[in-house]
C-alpha cells in the first residue's frame, strides 16, 4: 500500500502541479497595462528583484507605458540609451495620438523607429513574457495593446574568459570556456570559421530553462551521431540542469561503468579539435565544461598539447601516460600479490630488504595497503575542498604526520609509502580528471583480488576489465577503437603520435564520410645544387 502510494506520488502529483502552472502561463496579454503588470507581479510572487518603470508617451494625450525587468540581469546603460531615451524623447512634446492616431500604429512606430537594440522580440502571452523576463530581457508594455516587446539588453555579471584551471598546458592557447553559453559558442566560432559549423539550440529543464546547444561540422560529422544525440537529448525529462554533468548522466550509453563515455573539457581548442575530427559538442549554459561525443578510451590519454609539441616528444609523453595508467591501477595490488603470494618473484636482496621493513608491522600487507590508500584518498579529497589558506596544512599533515610518522611508529612500512606515492603521482598524469577517478576507484577491487588470489586475481581482474572495456560503446562507436576493433590506419594517433604530415586522415569510425583531413606533404627542403 505504501509502495503504491509512493509510485503514484512520483508519477502524478507533482506533474499535475507543474502542468497547472504552465497552462496558467499560456494566457494572452490583455489590452490593459495595469492588468498585465499586476499579472506579471502575481506570477512572479511579487519577488523583490522584479522592477518596473512607468512612463508616458506624448504629452497632450499621453499613452501609458512601462518597462519591467529583473534587477541585476539587465544592462541599465543600454536600456536607458537605446530604449527609454529614444521613445520618451521622440514622442515628448507631441500629442502621441495626434502624430500617430492609433495605438496599434504607435506600437509599430516604436518598433520601427524608436528602439535601437539588436535583439527585439514581440510577445503576446505571459509564457513568453516570463521566459524573456527571466532570461534577462527588458519587457516593454504599452497601454491599449495586447502585445509587448522583449528587448535584449542583458547585462548580468559574467566571468570573463580566463585561463583554464583544470586542463593546463605548457604550450597552447590559454583561454577557457566560461559560464555563458554565447561566449563559449563564440570561442569555438573564433577558431573554426567555417560555414559548415552548425549549431542547434534547445531548452531543457522545466525549472531552470537551460539552453543546451549542440555543435558539429556538417559534412565531417556522422549524421547518425547527431541524430542520436538529438534524440537522447529529447528524451531528457528533468527539472533542472545546473551543469553539463546532468546532461552527461542522462544521455550516456552506460551508467554502470567506471569509465567515462563522454569527454568534458573547458578548453575551446580541445573541443574544436574534437569537432574537426567529426565529433559533436554539447554546450550547456551555466558551466564552462563542454561535452564531446563520441568518446573513445584513447581520448582520455590524449592531451591537446600532444599536437602542439613535436611528435617525438608527444609520443614519449603519451607512452608515459599508458605506463602511468598501469602503475596507478596495479602498483598496490602487485605489491600485495608479490609479497604475500609470490615471494620467489622478487629478487633476493630486495625481498630481504622488504622483509626487514615488514618485521614488526602489525598488519598484513593488504590491510597496510588499504589503510594507506584510503588515507591518501581522504587527503586528496580534503586538499580539493580546503580553503586555499589552509591548503599547506594538509600537505604538512599528509607528508610528515602520515608518511614519516606512520613509518617511524611501525604502523606501515616505508615501501608501502613509496607504493602509495607512486600510485598517487601516476594518477595525476592523465590529462582527463575523469579517467583518473576511474583508476582511483578500480584500484581497490584490484587490491582485494590481489589479496585473495595473488597475481592470478590481478589477471582475472584485468581480463574482466578488458572484456568490459571492449563491450562499451559511446554513441555507437566501440569504446576501445582503434584497438578493438583494430584499425591500422588510426594507429598513427593512438599510443604514439605520428608527425603532423602523417595525420592525414580523421579517425575512421567516428567519421565515415569525409576522412581525408588534408593533402599535405612531408616537408622537404629544396635540393639545390
Amino acid at each position: 500500500m505504501a509502495m503504491k502510494h509512493r509510485i503514484r506520488k512520483k508519477n502524478n502529483t507533482k506533474r499535475i502541479e507543474i502542468d497547472n502552472i504552465s497552462s496558467h502561463f499560456d494566457v494572452n496579454l490583455s489590452n490593459e497595462l495595469e492588468a498585465n503588470k499586476k499579472e506579471v507581479f502575481r506570477l512572479l510572487g511579487n519577488s523583490s528583484d522584479v522592477e518596473t518603470r512607468a512612463f508616458q508617451l506624448g504629452k497632450i494625450h499621453p499613452v501609458n507605458a512601462a518597462i519591467i525587468f529583473l534587477e541585476g540581469l539587465i544592462d541599465k546603460e543600454i536600456v536607458q540609451n537605446y530604449l527609454l531615451n529614444p521613445i520618451i524623447n521622440d514622442l515628448r512634446g507631441t500629442n502621441a495620438n495626434e502624430k500617430i492616431p492609433d495605438v496599434q500604429q504607435l506600437y509599430q512606430y516604436i518598433k520601427n523607429f524608436n528602439i535601437t537594440t539588436a535583439e527585439l522580440t514581440e510577445i503576446s502571452n505571459f509564457k513568453t513574457l516570463l521566459q524573456h523576463l527571466l532570461a534577462g530581457d527588458t519587457i516593454l508594455l504599452i497601454d491599449g495593446v495586447n502585445k509587448g516587446f522583449a528587448v535584449g539588453a542583458r547585462g548580468a555579471k559574467e566571468r570573463g574568459v580566463e585561463e583554464p584551471t583544470t586542463q593546463r598546458v605548457v604550450r597552447g592557447p590559454k583561454d577557457a570556456f566560461t559560464e555563458t553559453i554565447s561566449v563559449n559558442i563564440a570561442l569555438i566560432r573564433k577558431r573554426i570559421k567555417d560555414p559548415n559549423l552548425w549549431l542547434e539550440s534547445f531548452v531543457y529543464g522545466t525549472k531552470t530553462q537551460t539552453k543546451v546547444t549542440i555543435a558539429y561540422i556538417h559534412g565531417i560529422v556522422n549524421p547518425g551521431v547527431v541524430e542520436e544525440v538529438k534524440s537522447r537529448l529529447d528524451k531528457m525529462d528533468i527539472d533542472a540542469i545546473l551543469e553539463s554533468g546532468y546532461v552527461e548522466e542522462l544521455i550516456q550509453d552506460e551508467t554502470y561503468t567506471p569509465f567515462p563515455t563522454m569527454i568534458n573539457s573547458e578548453r575551446p581548442d580541445a573541443i574544436s579539435a574534437g569537432l574537426l575530427e567529426g565529433k559533436v559538442a554539447i554546450l550547456v549554459d551555466g558551466t564552462p565544461f563542454v561535452l564531446l561525443v563520441p568518446a573513445l578510451f584513447l581520448d582520455f590519454f590524449q592531451s591537446n598539447e600532444d599536437y602542439y609539441q613535436r611528435s617525438d616528444i608527444s609520443s614519449l609523453i603519451r607512452a608515459l601516460r599508458f605506463i602511468a595508467f598501469f602503475l596507478a591501477l596495479l602498483t598496490p595490488s602487485t605489491y600485495i600479490a608479490l609479497t604475500t603470494f609470490h615471494q620467489e618473484m622478487i629478487p633476493t636482496t630486495l625481498l630481504i630488504s622488504l622483509a626487514a621493513q615488514r618485521e614488526g608491522i602489525p598488519f598484513p600487507a593488504v590491510v597496510e595497503a588499504l589503510l594507506m590508500e584510503v588515507t591518501f584518498e581522504i587527503l586528496r579529497e580534503a586538499g580539493i575542498r580546503l580553503p586555499s589558506a589552509v591548503g599547506s596544512a594538509i600537505s604538512i599533515v599528509g607528508a610528515l604526520v602520515l608518511g614519516q610518522a606512520a613509518v617511524d611508529a611501525g604502523i606501515v612500512s616505508a615501501t608501502m609509502v613509496i607504493v602509495v606515492s607512486l600510485t598517487a603521482i601516476s594518477s595525476f598524469i592523465f590529462p582527463s580528471y575523469n579517467l583518473a577517478i576511474s583508476v582511483r576507484m578500480l584500484r581497490f577491487p584490484f587490491m582485494i583480488m590481489a589479496a585473495t588470489f595473488g597475481l592470478f586475481g590481478i589477471f582475472i581482474g584485468l581480463l574482466i576489465l578488458t572484456l568490459h572495456l571492449s563491450s562499451l560503446r559511446s554513441f555507437g562507436i566501440p569504446y576501445m577503437s582503434p584497438f578493438a576493433p583494430f584499425i591500422s590506419n588510426d594507429q598513427k594517433d593512438a599510443v604514439f603520435r605520428a608527425p603532423r604530415w602523417k595525420l592525414r586522415t580523421r579517425p575512421r569510425l567516428i567519421n565515415q564520410r569525409n576522412t581525408i583531413r588534408e593533402d599535405s606533404q612531408r616537408p622537404m627542403p629544396d635540393k639545390k645544387g
Binding site: Q343, E344, I352, A356, A365
Partner: protein, 403 residues
C-alpha cells in the same frame, strides 16, 4: 538489478570463502639462502639450512647479532628432513630464494641422485641456485661459516663462483638443470666446483670471524670435481680445470703467461675464447677436434721484448698456443684417468655421427679412453696495453748506464 545483485553475492562468496588461500605474509616466512646436504649415519640424510635474519641485513638498527641462522635436521628422505626443520625454525622456511646447495664430499662420493630428484620435482625451488661440493668437510660446517663483505654466506659462495668463473676460469657455475642433464644423459658427465674451508670450524660459526680484517676461518674455491653418474670420483687440478673450461667453451676472461727467452714472463689476458668441438670417426675410432680461437691482450711484461716487431708478437702467440694445447691435453688426460667424459665428447659424436655413435654408445666409457683428441689453438694478440715498450727495458737501461 537482481542479476547484478546475484553476481555481486556470488563474487563476494567466492572471494570470502577462499580467503587468502596460500598467502603468506613476509613476517610469517623465513628465507633460506643456503642448503647443505650431508650423510647422516643413523637416518641417512642430514639437511642444514642457512636462513637470513632480514633486520640484521637491511634493517635500520643493526646490532651485532648474526645475520644468518643455521638449522639442521635429519631424515630418511630429503623431503622429510626439510619438513623436520620446522621443529627448529620458528617460521616456515621458504626455499625459493635458495642461492646455493652444498653437498658434503663424503655424501657426494656416495651419490647425489636422490637429492637431485627432490630439487627438480619440488615446485618450491627457483632453479637458478648454484651447486657446489664441500671439499674435505661437510656441507654443514661450510654453510655455518660467517663471512665478511657479503652478509649472507651463501651469497658469498655464489658471488665468488661467478666472479672466479668470469675472471679467473678454473671454476664452473653449475645450476640444477645443467647438473640434472649431464648426470642423466649418456656422453656427458657432471662436474661441480668444490669449496673448502681454512681454519677452525667452531670459530667460523661465531661473529668474531668477521670482526677481523683477516678472518681466521675462510671459505675458498677449489677447482672442479669430476662425477661419474651421480658419484663424485675425483678432483681436477687448477690447471686441468682451466683446460676443461677451454674445451667446454666456458672462458670469459682469464690470465695466462708465457716465458720469454731471457727468463722473464709475459702475462696475457684472454678476452675472448671460442671453442668448437668436431666429432668424427677414423677407422672406427672416435676422434674429437678441439678448435679454439683465443683473443688475448698483453697485460704485463717483465723481460726485454719489442712488441712493435711483428715477429716477436708471432713468437708470443706460438708459445701461448703451445701452452694452451698442453693445458687442454692435461685436462683430457686427467678425465681419461678418471674415465669420465666431463667434456661431453659423447654428445658431440652423437650430434655429428649419429649412426656410428649408436654402435659405440653402450660401450662409451671404453671408447672414451681410446678417443683421439686433437687440439688446434689459434691465438691472436689484440692489444698491447697503454705502453708498447716494456718499462723493464728502461729500468735496465738506467741501472746499466748509472751503475
Amino acid at each position: 538489478m537482481s542479476t547484478l545483485f546475484k553476481l555481486f553475492i556470488s563474487l563476494f562468496i567466492c572471494i570470502s570463502l577462499t580467503g587468502c588461500w596460500s598467502s603468506e605474509e613476509l613476517t610469517e616466512i623465513t628465507l633460506a639462502t643456503g642448503l647443505a646436504i650431508d650423510k647422516d649415519d643413523e637416518d641417512g640424510f642430514k639437511v642444514t639450512i642457512q636462513v637470513v635474519n632480514p633486520t640484521e641485513i637491511a634493517g635500520d638498527q643493526i646490532s651485532n647479532r648474526s645475520s644468518v641462522v643455521i638449522y639442521s635436521a635429519t631424515g630418511k628422505t630429503i623431503f622429510e628432513a626439510i619438513r623436520k626443520l620446522t621443529k627448529a625454525s620458528p617460521r616456515r622456511v621458504h626455499l625459493s630464494h635458495l642461492q646455493v646447495v652444498i653437498f658434503g664430499e663424503e655424501f657426494a662420493r656416495e651419490g647425489i641422485g636422490e637429492t637431485i630428484d627432490y630439487l627438480v620435482r619440488d615446485h618450491g625451488f627457483r632453479t637458478d641456485f648454484h651447486m657446489v661440493i664441500a671439499k674435505d668437510t661437510t656441507g654443514e660446517e661450510l654453510i655455518s661459516v660467517i663471512t665478511p663483505l657479503e652478509k649472507i654466506p651463501a651469497q658469498r659462495i655464489t658471488a665468488s663462483i661467478q666472479s672466479s668463473q668470469n675472471f679467473w676460469a678454473p671454476t664452473k657455475e653449475v645450476q640444477l638443470y645443467e647438473l640434472f642433464e649431464s648426470m642423466t644423459s649418456t656422453g656427458k658427465e657432471a662436474v661441480m666446483t668444490g669449496v673448502y674451508m681454512v681454519g677452525d670450524p667452531e670459530i667460523g660459526k661465531t661473529v668474531q670471524n668477521v670482526t677481523q680484517s683477516d678472518p681466521p676461518v675462510k671459505t675458498r674455491l677449489n677447482s672442479i670435481g669430476i662425477f661419474n653418474g651421480d658419484k663424485l670420483i675425483g678432483w681436477l687440478s687448477e690447471k686441468e680445470s682451466k683446460g676443461f673450461n677451454y674445451i667446454t667453451n666456458n672462458i670469459n676472461n682469464t690470465v695466462g703467461w708465457v716465458e720469454c727467452e731471457d727468463g722473464g714472463k709475459i702475462s696475457l689476458e684472454t678476452t675472448n675464447s671460442d671453442t668448437k668441438l668436431k666429432g668424427s670417426f677414423v677407422n672406427g675410432h672416435p676422434k674429437i677436434t678441439v678448435e679454439t680461437n683465443i683473443t688475448v691482450n698483453v697485460g704485463e711484461i717483465s723481460c726485454s721484448i719489442d712488441l712493435s716487431i711483428p715477429e716477436s708478437i708471432k713468437e708470443i702467440e706460438k708459445k701461448l698456443e703451445q701452452k694452451t694445447v698442453d693445458l687442454i691435453n692435461s685436462s683430457v688426460n686427467a678425465a681419461k684417468e678418471f674415465n669420465s667424459d666431463i667434456f661431453g665428447f659423447g654428445s658431440v659424436l652423437r650430434k655429428s655421427q649419429p649412426k656410428q655413435w649408436e654402435k659405440i654408445k653402450g660401450n662409451w666409457p671404453e671408447h672414451f679412453q681410446q678417443t683421439e683428441i686433437k687440439a688446434n689453438v689459434t691465438i691472436e694478440i689484440n692489444q698491447s696495453g697503454s705502453i708498447t715498450t716494456p718499462i723493464y727495458d728502461d729500468v735496465m737501461e738506467k741501472t746499466g748506464s748509472g751503475g
